[in-house]
Structure formats: structure tokens, C-alpha cells
């Protein structure tokens, strides 16, 4: 495993030789205490991702994919190891500093969309911009909504939108702050094939246009194969890490 990791790192460096990794986690462990006792969720995970790369994390349920993503988002604290994300040591940041780092540099897309149910589509998109103190938050949000094809739905509440529409709003929201890193947790998991395909098109389109780094979790091999790199997890560890020479360009269907 160590050899594989090394090999990938080399590949990363060859692609962006002069840039420091945007994700640099090393020997990360995550242990949670449940009623049954301590459960090791992540064991000695080391992963380095260079800016602009697209990475798919795949693996069976309970393999630790989502936990790793949450650690990288600063929403979960690693029990041990180093977590350097967007140039910051996440293990040393306070909860609020983590929130600010997310607001500035990280966009997150969830399987269940997680829009704020009390706000309209455009308000959801504007919110991170407002937190960042942008005065043009609303007009920017309208533009972003138009970009995901939902200009007409701007004033709808999440409950009034279909799953695909909600995920497109979530996508617009995740990208509203022009993040350097996009983290997506099974973004098509709750969507049917066609709708999922549209969302993926949008996601990769924005990844390419904005040049942001993309890390996504998926069960869908076709989707994974669209990524430059595929990381396989099992039982809390990274068991394989492959670089693809020619990622599939077709939408996962």
C-alpha cells in the first residue's frame, strides 16, 4: 500500500510539479466511541491531492469514505495524524476558523442536498457569499442559478423543488464562493440516472471551468472513471490508489 501511495504522489507531482498539495493528510486515524465501545473509523490514512485534480473515492458502505471526506472538510476532527487542507493545518484551527476556511476555500455537496429549508433557492446560493461579506451576493447568486439552469426557480423553497433541482441548487451554492476545493459526498446517490447525469455534467463542467480540485465519493463506477484518480477504501484504510490516463468524458448513466 505504501508503494502505491508513493507512486500516486509521484504522479501528482508530475502533473503540477511546482504546486504544493491542496490536500495533504498523513497517518490520519479516527476513533469514535459508541455504546459498544471504541470504533476505529479511519486507520492510518495518508492522501495527497494536487490542485486541479479530480479524485473519486470508492469503496463499500462503512469503509470510511464519508468520514474521510468530513475530516477533509473540517466537519470531523481526526483523532490522530496530520490534516493540511488548502494550506492550513486543520488540526490546529478552532471550530470557527474551520468554518471560515470552508467559507473561503471549500465547497461541499451532500447526497441529501441539505439546503436550508426556510430559504428560497437563490437565498441558499447567496448565503455563503453573504457570510463572506460580498455585497453583490444576491446578483451573483442569480447568475449562478442561471448557470445551473434554474433561473426560473430562484424564488422556490427547497420543498417545492425536485431532487435534481435541489442538487443543482446545492451545486450552485457549493461553487458560489469560487472554492479551490470541491468535496462531494455521493452527489447523485439520491437521484435517478438521468437527473444524476445532468448534475454530474454540471459538476465536472464547473470543476473544469473554475479549475477547482474535486474530490467525490461514489458507488458508481462510470462516475468514478470520469475522475483523473480513483482511491479505493475498505475497512477504514486506503487499499488502492490509481491514476487514470484518459478519464471517461461521457456522463455516468
Amino acid at each position: 500500500m505504501a508503494a502505491q501511495t508513493k507512486q500516486i504522489k509521484g504522479a501528482g507531482i508530475s502533473a503540477h510539479a511546482s504546486t504544493a498539495p491542496i490536500i495533504d493528510v498523513a497517518n490520519v486515524g479516527l476513533t469514535l466511541t459508541s455504546r459498544a465501545g471504541a470504533v476505529e473509523i479511519l486507520r492510518d490514512v495518508t492522501l495527497s491531492v494536487t490542485p486541479g485534480q479530480s479524485v473519486a473515492i470508492v469503496g463499500p458502505s462503512g469503509s470510511g469514505k464519508t468520514s474521510l471526506l468530513m475530516v477533509m472538510a473540517g466537519l470531523e476532527r481526526a483523532t490522530s495524524g496530520r490534516v493540511d487542507i488548502v494550506g492550513q493545518d486543520f488540526t490546529r484551527l478552532s471550530e470557527d476558523q474551520l468554518a471560515e476556511a470552508r467559507g473561503r476555500d471549500i465547497g461541499i455537496v451532500f447526497q441529501s442536498f441539505h439546503l436550508v429549508p426556510t430559504m428560497t433557492a437563490v437565498e441558499n446560493v447567496a448565503l455563503p457569499l453573504e457570510f463572506a461579506g460580498r455585497h453583490d451576493a444576491m446578483s451573483l447568486a442569480h447568475e449562478l442559478l442561471a448557470e445551473v439552469g434554474l433561473a426560473e426557480r430562484a424564488q422556490h423553497f427547497p420543498a417545492e423543488l425536485s431532487g435534481g433541482e435541489q442538487q443543482r441548487v446545492a451545486l450552485a451554492r457549493a461553487l458560489s464562493g469560487s472554492p479551490r476545493l470541491i468535496l462531494a459526498d455521493e452527489p447523485t446517490g439520491n437521484l435517478d440516472g438521468k437527473t444524476g447525469g445532468q448534475v454530474i455534467e454540471l459538476l465536472f463542467g464547473m470543476h473544469r471551468r473554475h479549475g477547482a480540485t474535486l474530490v467525490l465519493i461514489t458507488h458508481d463506477n462510470a462516475l468514478a472513471s470520469k475522475c483523473k484518480r480513483i482511491v479505493r477504501m475498505a475497512d477504514g484504510r486506503i487499499v488502492a490508489d490509481e491514476l487514470q490516463d484518459a478519464p471517461s468524458r461521457t456522463a455516468a448513466q
Binding site: 437565498e123 448565503l127 457549493a174
Partner: protein, 877 residues
């Protein structure tokens, strides 16, 4: 299952048979299903239980307390009266014929009570006292306990050597600065304070007492010179009817009735008031009844506010059971069964709440009894009538049903499709028509129960109507706040935007919070404003034009000399006088007062003694509104002027005959005019003012007011009373400021009690609030976690929450102040005739309480929200 679209008769028949079968197996299955459902325990139902328990507790406690007091009154009637029966009359002692009549019916004890002044021998100190002269037979029942186990008979004995003895309240010793064994002046003579009084058996049967008690013997009383024709003396005769022993008590009730009948027949014009031990203090009993009704209404308000919590809890409960309901339906359960299963479940929880409420309510009188048994003038009896418990339980059940039926009615409408489409957003419609009808029926039963069990139905109807209005108002306000929050342009500050979005969220907290806090706050604001206005009316407005002293019992021929003395001490003093007699109303417009059903606020005029006067001109502080005043030296038919408002309440008018019994004689006069009286001015005024020729012949004393210039010092004020006291020991001077202060103190205690009772409604509101916040907690955590994920710091989330809570609190408090002020204004200006004054303290109180409660509970919730670990909420599995 319920659809039978075919018109085929066979099919219809089959459906009907199936319906009958399901109705037959129905109830057992329903109960079994409900029981299985409830196995999950009571979690999520605690607020429901607490909301019901609180209101039921208040109503039970009020009922149980009132039962205890009523039972105490009834059981100790003999002790309280000092006999089986008492007959009493003002001014006139029973004459020989009357006394012989009484003596023929059993053992009799005679007492005379009057208000007078006790003075130190040097005349420098004086105090208003309640003097009671007693005969040797006193007391027929119970005993007067004196310090050092002294016996009353020994103490009051008039020895030739020493001054006559008196038993005195220890407070008097303190006021006059004398010790046991010292002498002091009472009327024309000196008496010796021979013993201190510890307790008096029949104190409750005397009128309201203002000063400390003094006991003297009847002989001593006669010597004081205070007993003169026209003096305000209450003569009372306590009688142990017939022979003593078990035989007598068996027929006691009958013998008491026959006593009253015989008395009315033999002494129709004597003017005696009769009380018997079965209802020794009708006024106290009536006051208790009214207090119970008032407090029950407060308890009901708390219960209804708690009902909002019940509705929220049932709604949450139903929302969480959506899949269960859908599963039941997909397995073939008809709507009826779904409804009944959940109704039985809710009923079980409601019964738990009611049982807890009743149990707690029954503990309250026990606790109060052990704390305050010594303070009450008679022993309370801890007996609770099943009726009180049943009434409280019925209130609890009706309110639970009233608030649970609507969400339950929606539960049965959940479509089975929710099993397949997770996030179906269905619009919540009206429950089926027969449930709406059932709801209306429950409301009607509740209202009828409140109104029918109330003594004053009109007040109960007003109360229920007012409450319905308050609920409707705050329901609408909740909707308006939600609507407005959705309409205002989105503010640029994200914290404010989040707060407004939450306020405007469908199914959010706004309506529950506004509704639960609004009603309680309105009540408190109304009470606070009424309190402030009344206190201002009593304390700050009066001294401007009110007199300094009332002088009682001035012999009418001595009045000019009293004026001389007052003017000699304080030349600038002004005095007003009025003849003063006491008598009771016998009949109005030909109807005996016993048969007149008067509204509660006018009833006092019909019972007991009233002050009566005569005058040849319209008294100061009065204006004639209808009819004409008799001229000077009028000598025609006896006429009387009646106070307008009371005349209207009692249903009498110009031309009607009024009969009063004065000095054992019935006197009739025709109502010549109606007057509007400004009672607050404290000038001398009376309900009935007669034409001079009606009463002038009767022996009477004069009542006078002394008004000193505003610049008068306390010492100058005291000099006036001292000078009058030295020259006329039998004249009683009551300092108006003392009387107002005494009244103010009683009034203050009463308002404090009302405030405490009213705050129960706020506690209910707080419970509902806590419940609503707890219900919303999961949603709020998820929201906070999402906000964190997109870059919000904890401070921003906290700020957003506090802004949201403050906005709700301010809106609620604002309307509560407006509505409370309006209610207080209506009550003060229209019912109590007191000018309304606005007090900013009330506003501050409402704002402080509302924001304090919301921010406290909300803040606690927010702390929890901010501490929550995000990942479990964000994961999709």
C-alpha cells in the same frame, strides 16, 4: 377500504356488512393496537403531560382549598357564630319584649361592638379600637383564651376598689405604650388593661375590624358613656336553641328554620338580621365561592394555553408516525381505525397528565394547611369533594380533546403513498366534517361547563369570549409575523436573513411561541396596568381634595362645639357634616330584599347595615341626573335620593318605594331622584339620602369630615384629633391617611395574589415554548450544521438565533401590551370608573418577561445546537 364506487346493491350490501364487522371487532383491536404503539414509552409526551398537569393542578388545588375552607366554615358554624343562631341589629339594644322572646327559645348571650378611641390617661396617645361589651353568658360556645390562663369572667369583673378590667389585644398595649396592669381611658371612664387576648372564638362573625379588640363587661360599657341613642353599636344575640343533647341536634335544622320563621312572624319590624350555624358567614362563603370561580378561570386559562402545547405535541407525534399510519393503511386499516388508535393513545397520555395534575393539586391544600393553619380565624377541614376532582379532570380532558382532535383528524388523512415517496409534501387540509363537528361539540361542552358552573354567568361568558378573542388575536398575529417575515426584502446581514427566514418558515416556531406567550403576557400586562392605575387613584390622586379626618359619633347638638374646638386648634380647617344613621334595606319597589336577585356587584347594598343620612340640599360630590331635588323645608311625602348606578343594577327607578329599618322601625320613602356620586373624592356620601322630614325625628349622631390646608404638618394634624378627643372622649377620629394606607395594604396583597395566580398562565406559556423549541431542535441542529458547512461561525449562528427570538418576543410583547392595555382600559373606565393611566413599567415587564423567557429557553437550545457533532446529521444513511 372505504370505497364502494359501484352502484350494485350486492356490493353495497357487502360493504355495509364489512363495516358492521369492523365496528364490532373495533374497540378491542383499537385498544390493543394503541397499547402496542405506546410501548415506545412516554418520550416526546412530557410537555403534553406537563401542560395538562399544570392547568389541572391549579383547578384541583383551587377546588380542594375552597372545599377545605367551606367545610371548615360549615362544621364550625356554631363556633364562628358563638351559638346556633345569632340575631343582630345596629343602634338599638333588644327591648324587654324582644329579649323575653329570645330567652324563651334557649340560652342567650348579648354582645355589643363599636368603634371608638382608647386614650392614655394624659390624653397624648390615642388609638382606634374595636370595643366589645359582653355579658356573663358570653361565650356560649368556645372560649376566649387569655394570656397566663386568666379567665375572662375574672378579668372583666367590676370591683369596687379598682378600675373596671378590660381584656385587650397586645397590639393596643404597644400603640398606647401601656403595660398589663396600667389604666387607660375609654369614653368617659378609666379602665385597667387586665389581660392580653390570645384568641377570640367568634371574631369572624363581627364586621371587618380596623383596630385592636378590647373586651369589657356590659356594665363597664354602659359606664363609658359610649352607649347613647344613635351611637353606631352592633347589638348581637347568640342563642343556643332549645334543650341541649342529642335529641335537640337531631331536629336542629328544623328548629333553626322554625326559629327564623317565628322571628319573622313575631318581630317583623324589629329589623334583626338572622344568621344560623348552617351558613354562619354568607358573605365570607360567597366571597370564597367567587374567589374559587375566579381562580378556576385562571387555571382554565393556564390549561388552554397548555392546550397549544398539547396540539404541538400531538402534531409532532403524528408527524413521526406518518410511516406507521401509512403502513397501517396499506395493510387495510380504515381511517376510522387509524383515528381511534391514535385517539386512544392520546387519551392514555392525557389521563396520565390529568392524574398527575389532580395528585399535585390535592397536595397543595395539605401544604398550605400545614403552613398557614394558625393564621386562619377558624380551622380548615381537609375534605375534598369528588365534584372538585371530577370538575378538574373534566376540564383537563375537554381541553386535551379540543387541542388534539385537529392534528388527529389530519393523521387519519395521511396517504399510504408516503411509504413510497419519501418527501411527499402534502398540503394539510381540514379534517373530515364529522371530526370538525365533534371539535365544535367539545368546544361547546367546555364553554357550557364553564358558564353553567359559574355563579356570575355573564362574567363567565365575557371571560370565555375574551379568552377566545385573545387566542384568535395571537393566532392571527403568529400568522401575520410569519407572513411579514416572508415578505420583507431580504436583509444584507446574513444573520438577520437567517433569523427572518426562520420566522417565516412554514410550520416554524413563530405561531406556537406568539400564541403561548401572548395570552399569558396580555393577562399580566392588564393586571399590572389595572394595578398601577388603581394604586395611583388610591395614593396619589386622593390627598389633593380628600379630608384629613372622619369624626364619628358626634352628638348632633354638640356639633357646633366640636367645630369650635377644631377651629380653635386649626383655624384654617374646613368641616362638612352629615347626619349618620345605620339601617338595613327591607324592601325595594314592594319586593322584600330577600327575594331580589341582584348582580354580584350590587348585592352588598341588600345585605347588612347601610349608612343612611338626610339632607335638604344635594350633597357635595353628587349630581342629580334624573328627577328633581326636594326644596328646603320640604314637608310632604317622605322622599329618598338613590345612587344612579346601583338603582339601575337593582332595577329601581323614580317613583319606586324604598323601605329601610332604622332603630327597629320600618320607614318608607319614594325615590324622587337619582344621583351620580363621585365616591373617590372621599367626601361624605351615601347610597340613599332621605328628605329631612323622613329621618330627622330619629335619634342620631353626626358624621363630620375635617379638611386641613395642604400645608398642615403632621403635628398640627395630630393636635386636632387630640383636642377633640380631650373634649369629647366618645367621638371617634379616623385618620383618612391611615385608613387609605390600611386599604392600600390589603389591596396590595390582593393584587399580589392576582399576579401570582396570573403568572401561572405564563408558566404554562413557558412550558409550551420549551416544548415547541424542543420539537424544533432537530431541525435547528441540521440547519446550524449546514450553515457551518458553508462557512458560518458559531457567533453568527448564535446571533441569528438570538435575533429570531428577540423579534418574536418583541412582536408578542408589543401586542400583549396593546391588548392588555385595552382590556385594562375597558375594565377601569367602564366597569370600575377609575381613570386609566398607562405605565411604562408594564411595557418593560412584558418585554422583559417575553424576551427573557424566549431567549432563556431558546438560548439553552442554541447552546445544544452549537455543540452538536455535524457528521451524524449530514450523513444520508
Amino acid at each position: 377500504m372505504k370505497t364502494a364506487p359501484s352502484t350494485s346493491a350486492a356490493r353495497l350490501d357487502k360493504t355495509a356488512r364489512r363495516a358492521r364487522a369492523s365496528a364490532a371487532i373495533g374497540f378491542a383491536v383499537v385498544v390493543r393496537l394503541a397499547w402496542r404503539e405506546r410501548r415506545g414509552g412516554l418520550s416526546g409526551c412530557y410537555v403534553f403531560i406537563a401542560c395538562l398537569a399544570l392547568g389541572v393542578m391549579v383547578i384541583t388545588a383551587v377546588g380542594a382549598l375552597s372545599d377545605a375552607l367551606t367545610a371548615g366554615l360549615a362544621r364550625q358554624g356554631e363556633m364562628i357564630l358563638g351559638g346556633d343562631v345569632t340575631v343582630s341589629r345596629t343602634h338599638m339594644r333588644a327591648n324587654e319584649t324582644e329579649r323575653a322572646w329570645l330567652d324563651a327559645r334557649g340560652r342567650v348571650s348579648e354582645t355589643a361592638t363599636l368603634r371608638t378611641m382608647a386614650r392614655t390617661l394624659d390624653g397624648n396617645e390615642q388609638a382606634l379600637v374595636e370595643l366589645k361589651g359582653v355579658d356573663d353568658a358570653y361565650p356560649l360556645v368556645g372560649e376566649v383564651r387569655l394570656q397566663d390562663d386568666a379567665r375572662l369572667d375574672d378579668v372583666l369583673r367590676t370591683d369596687a376598689a379598682a378600675f373596671p378590667g378590660a381584656a385587650v389585644d397586645p397590639i393596643l398595649l404597644e400603640r398606647l405604650g401601656v403595660k398589663i396592669g396600667d389604666s387607660f381611658r375609654l369614653g368617659d371612664i378609666e379602665v385597667r388593661a387586665a389581660a392580653a387576648i390570645l384568641s377570640e372564638p367568634d371574631s369572624l362573625s363581627d364586621r371587618l375590624t380596623f383596630g385592636p379588640r378590647i373586651f369589657v363587661s356590659m356594665e363597664t360599657l354602659q359606664k363609658t358613656g359610649l352607649v347613647k341613642p344613635g351611637s353606631l353599636i352592633g347589638w348581637r344575640y347568640a342563642i343556643k336553641v332549645g334543650n341541649e343533647g342529642p335529641a335537640a341536634s337531631a331536629g336542629a335544622s328544623a328548629s333553626l328554620d322554625s326559629f327564623a320563621r317565628a322571628m319573622k312572624q313575631d318581630m317583623a319590624e324589629a329589623g334583626f338580621t338572622i344568621h344560623d350555624k348552617r351558613d354562619p358567614r354568607p358573605r365570607v362563603r360567597r366571597t370564597l365561592e367567587r374567589l374559587q370561580q375566579f381562580l378556576t378561570l385562571i387555571g382554565l386559562t393556564a390549561l388552554l394555553i397548555g392546550g397549544v402545547g398539547v396540539a404541538n405535541a400531538v402534531q409532532t407525534f403524528v408527524d413521526r408516525r406518518r410511516k406507521v399510519i401509512a403502513t397501517m393503511k396499506s395493510l387495510g386499516a380504515p381511517q376510522r381505525i387509524v383515528f381511534q388508535v391514535f385517539l386512544v393513545e392520546i387519551a392514555i397520555v392525557a389521563l396520565i397528565g390529568i392524574a398527575i395534575g389532580v395528585a399535585l393539586g390535592l397536595v397543595v391544600p395539605l401544604t398550605l394547611h400545614s403552613l398557614y393553619a394558625d393564621v386562619l380565624p377558624f380551622e380548615t377541614q381537609l375534605s375534598i369533594t369528588p365534584w372538585s376532582v371530577a370538575a378538574a379532570a373534566l376540564y383537563g380532558l375537554l381541553v386535551a380533546l379540543l387541542f388534539a382532535l385537529w392534528p388527529l383528524g389530519q393523521a387519519e388523512l395521511v396517504p399510504p403513498a408516503v411509504l413510497f415517496r419519501d418527501a411527499v409534501v402534502e398540503r394539510r387540509g381540514w379534517p373530515r366534517p364529522h371530526l370538525v363537528a365533534l371539535l365544535a361539540l367539545v368546544a361547546a361542552v367546555l364553554v357550557s361547563f364553564v358558564v353553567l358552573t359559574s355563579d356570575s354567568r355573564l362574567i363567565a361568558i365575557y371571560f370565555v369570549g375574551g379568552l377566545a378573542l385573545v387566542f384568535a388575536l395571537f393566532w392571527a398575529l403568529g400568522g401575520a409575523v410569519t407572513w411579514l417575515a416572508r415578505r420583507v426584502p431580504r436583509p444584507a446581514r446574513p444573520e438577520l436573513a437567517v433569523a427572518l427566514a426562520n420566522l417565516g418558515a412554514p410550520g416554524g416556531l413563530t405561531r406556537s411561541v406568539v400564541l403561548s406567550l401572548g395570552a399569558g403576557l396580555s393577562l399580566l400586562v392588564a393586571v399590572a396596568l389595572a394595578d398601577a392605575s388603581l394604586v395611583r387613584e388610591i395614593s396619589s390622586r386622593l390627598p389633593e381634595n380628600s379630608p384629613n379626618y372622619f369624626l364619628l359619633d358626634i352628638p348632633k347638638e354638640e356639633y357646633p362645639k366640636v367645630v369650635e374646638i377644631v377651629k380653635g386648634t386649626a383655624p384654617a380647617a374646613s368641616m362638612v357634616r352629615a347626619p349618620m344613621l345605620r339601617g338595613r334595606l327591607v324592601s325595594l319597589a314592594g319586593r322584600p330584599v330577600e327575594t331580589i336577585k341582584a348582580p354580584p356587584e350590587a348585592e352588598w347594598v341588600l345585605r347588612g347595615d347601610r349608612g343612611l343620612t338626610y339632607s335638604d340640599e344635594v350633597p357635595e360630590g353628587s349630581t342629580v341626573t334624573k328627577g328633581t331635588w326636594w326644596g328646603k323645608d320640604y314637608a310632604g311625602e317622605p322622599l329618598v335620593s338613590f345612587e344612579e348606578e346601583l338603582a339601575n343594577q337593582l332595577g329601581v327607578g323614580i317613583g319606586d318605594m324604598v323601605s329601610v329599618n332604622v332603630l327597629g322601625r320600618n320607614i318608607s320613602a319614594r325615590i324622587a331622584n337619582l344621583r351620580e356620586v363621585n365616591w373617590e373624592s372621599l367626601a361624605i356620601n351615601f347610597v340613599m339620602v332621605f328628605s329631612p322630614n323622613t329621618l330627622a325625628g330619629a335619634p342620631h349622631n353626626v358624621l363630620a369630615t375635617v379638611t386641613l390646608p395642604k400645608s398642615a404638618t403632621l403635628a398640627e394634624e395630630a393636635d386636632v384629633a387630640r383636642a377633640v378627643g380631650r373634649a369629647y372622649p366618645t367621638v371617634t377620629a379616623i385618620r383618612v391617611k391611615d385608613a387609605i394606607n390600611a386599604f392600600g395594604a390589603v389591596f396590595g396583597k390582593m393584587m399580589a395574589a392576582v399576579r401570582v395566580a396570573g403568572s401561572v398562565t405564563l408558566v404554562a406559556g413557558a412550558l409550551v415554548l420549551a416544548g415547541a423549541l424542543a420539537t424544533a431542535q432537530r431541525r435547528r441542529i441540521l440547519e446550524a450544521v449546514i450553515l457551518k458547512a458553508i462557512g458560518a461561525t458559531r457567533r453568527r449562528i448564535l446571533t441569528a438565533h438570538i435575533l429570531e427570538y428577540l423579534l418574536i418576543a418583541v412582536a408578542t410583547a408589543g401586542f400583549a401590551v396593546a391588548f392588555g392595555a385595552l382590556s385594562a382600559w375597558v375594565a377601569l373606565e367602564n366597569v370600575m370608573d377609575v381613570p386609566f393611566t398607562f405605565s411604562w413599567t408594564a411595557v418593560a415587564l412584558a418585554l422583559g418577561l417575553a424576551s427573557g423567557l424566549v431567549v432563556l429557553f431558546g438560548g439553552l437550545g442554541t447552546l445544544h445546537v452549537l455543540r452538536a457533532r455535524p457528521v451524524p446529521y449530514l450523513r444520508s444513511d
